[in-house]
Assembly symmetry: C2
Homo-oligomer: 401 residues x 2
């Protein structure tokens, strides 16, 4: 009988040889000709031919003329038409926002970044996002009709199914606000998630999806957050609260008061804000995570020691997560990761000492690669996973809604 | 375009209206007539009719005569033919083994349990399993041709893809042994996983799969293990090592030496063996987890206090797992769970104090329901998820292999 049919990155797919499945083979570069599609899908030449015609008619696939010969006459080369539509994405942070437009391959076409306080509330912020999207579309000479989906990241807990923020601590006025409704006139899927989840998905999508299934992304900035990729997908948990590593208790820190109201949370000893405060108590002028990083890069000994120690504290929490979740990769990002040599050294030291040998045998602990673009990359990937899911493509091509 | 097509319990499914999808609707009780299948699948009456005929011809579906009227003439009632085949399962523990045969609905038809040491090695143990399977089939008056799959649980880490044990600490001779090869002559899928994973799947399948997606099963016996259900499936992690909560460090226990070689592991302070040792040092005669449970049930004050405290230690580790994973349910099983009132009280006390409000808002911490049968129930569910996966059914019905 055989295995479940899944893609290399774990997304569910449809029956072998369905139009959506064939498109996926083309998108992932597994096939680029009809004979290859026949071989990989196991369906007949006639069926492949009909379904490729449907994908060509829908504009999702284009032909590039003659390709590599397969014995007799040369096969026509097929490729996914990543210009067939656009994705609008916004990564909204506490004080900073980034907007972008990508194509259907997730390629960044145009972007803008601005200081913008999320605390202005959903009306003003989302109006600004709308206006920004329109301007970016203008710059590209494209219009609303080209948009296939919208992806938005928020700096707080989000109920992914409905796209509403849930009791977000730093977002006054946003609690329960239905973000997708603000873009209803686009008539495309509008997906919302928290910023750490989309950063995790962005790093995974850009660098790891062809290699591994399970990954943790740790954002170390003012606080500490975590995005969990399980079997190639964001794991959100029962209330969308998964990944809250920042408030796990670390041993021996019972006097550290955390902004969450508990004591001893790892964020209260190893977050950027906590480190800056400790350095200030030693006479430094560090105000925040960025100042701490600058001190480390300038060779300040106390700052270096503090970041290394923060890495160890974080490592103690990650060791438990490694035993529990057994990820293949841990990616460390966020502002503090700009001092990644010291931070990663501390993390690795404790993770490899405290986790089980089987779980760390092939574990990699690496710095993030996308920097400030992780969020918009992930927001686009989130949208593409939905609008190009094989089932969605099948329904589109078959005219079923 | 819309959402990904997934079942209520998260398993990927195929194109809407494929034979495998229709069978799934019948299996889950979502539909029991052709008109209902038309409504739920969105495909035409003719297409439903053809595909149901194929499922009838394959023996996977049977007709039960007239069903509920839908306006005009009564609709014929369809149901999944759970007698169309059998699943053979074995739950092999350190010193005890249980064999069973289930139908295709996971219903237990016949079973046997025996003391049998896994340390006898793979040859003798698996020969005994084979002989036991044959006898159970004889008892049922059925034969090998009825068997659709085999599921086996082992008391150690397993590489699920290949069905091999990986450096199992208490299984001499098993390291790397290809368990499925021992049953190759059955010519059916042979799936192997570790005992805690199949227990987790068993409890999930029997009691929770229609309600929740994310669940943790904690086995508290001699040691402490954890099975992780994420989006309705067993999360195994990169090396199949996920769920190893027993060796997470707890604060203030640095002098507790664990059998893993580290100190301060939760298993070394809260496992059944550790509690028995502590009670012995206080003059008790408790040798193991079962003795501890008997003392608690007899009202022994020291034992009761020790189990409650063990629950708190376990709770500290689970609080971190709750923040990280945000499960909907935590099920506590294993021998120690027979003293579940004290154990769960300790766990709840700390989990609800230390986890974030959003993650615990609807969290339930409950005792296991299946007792010694969790393993065989889960082993059967593991096999059924594969052999009745929509893709597998589509291939079977379409004659594609």
């Amino acid at each position: 009988m055989g295995e479940l049919l899944t893609t290399t990155n774990g997304w569910p797919t449809t029956a072998p040889g369905s139009p959506g499945h064939l498109l996926q083979l083309l998108r992932e570069g597994a096939a680029s000709t009809r004979p290859q599609l026949v071989e990989l899908s196991g369906i007949s030449r006639t069926a492949v031919s009909q379904r490729v015609d449907a994908l060509l008619a829908a504009g999702l696939v284009v032909q590039d003329g003659a390709g590599a010969s397969t014995g007799g006459r040369p096969a026509v080369r097929l490729r996914f038409n990543h210009d067939h539509g656009l994705v609008l994405v916004a990564d909204l942070g506490a004080t900073h926002a980034r907007l972008a437009v990508t194509d259907l391959a997730g390629e960044l076409l145009v972007e803008r970044a601005e200081d913008r306080a999320i605390a202005e509330g959903p009306g003003p912020v989302l109006d600004w996002v709308r206006a920004g999207f329109e301007q970016l579309l203008d710059e590209l000479g494209r219009g609303r009709a080209d948009v296939r989906g919208i992806g938005i990241g928020l700096p707080g807990p989000v109920e992914h199914g409905s796209g509403r923020a849930v009791s977000p601590p730093i977002m006054p006025g946003w609690d329960g606000y239905p973000v997708p409704a603000h873009f209803a006139d686009y008539d495309v899927p509008v997906l919302v998630d928290n910023d750490v989840n989309i950063m995790a998905l962005g790093e995974y999508w850009a660098a790891w999806r062809h290699e591994v299934d399970d990954l943790l992304f740790i954002k170390v900035g003012t606080g500490i957050g975590c995005g969990v990729i399980a079997s190639g997908r964001v794991h959100r948990g029962a209330q969308g609260a998964a990944g809250d590593l920042g408030h796990v208790r670390v041993p021996g820190a019972d006097d550290a008061l955390c902004r969450c109201g508990n004591t001893g949370c790892v964020e209260a000893v190893a977050g950027g804000q906590a480190i800056a405060e400790r350095l200030r108590s030693l006479g430094s002028s560090a105000r925040d995570a960025r100042d701490v990083v600058n001190l480390v890069l300038a060779g300040d000994r106390e700052a270096t020691r503090a970041v290394r120690e923060a890495g160890r504290e974080l490592g103690a929490v990650l060791a438990a997560a490694v035993n529990f979740f057994n990820p293949a990769v841990i990616v460390i990002g966020g502002d503090m990761a700009n001092a990644h040599e010291q931070l990663l050294a501390g993390v690795r030291e404790v993770v490899y000492r405290r986790s089980l040998p089987l779980a760390t045998r092939h574990l990699r602990v690496v710095p993030a690669q996308l920097g400030d673009r992780a969020g918009i990359t992930g927001a686009s990937a989130m949208v593409l996973a939905e609008v190009l899911a094989p089932g969605a493509v099948d329904r589109l091509v078959n005219g079923v809604t």
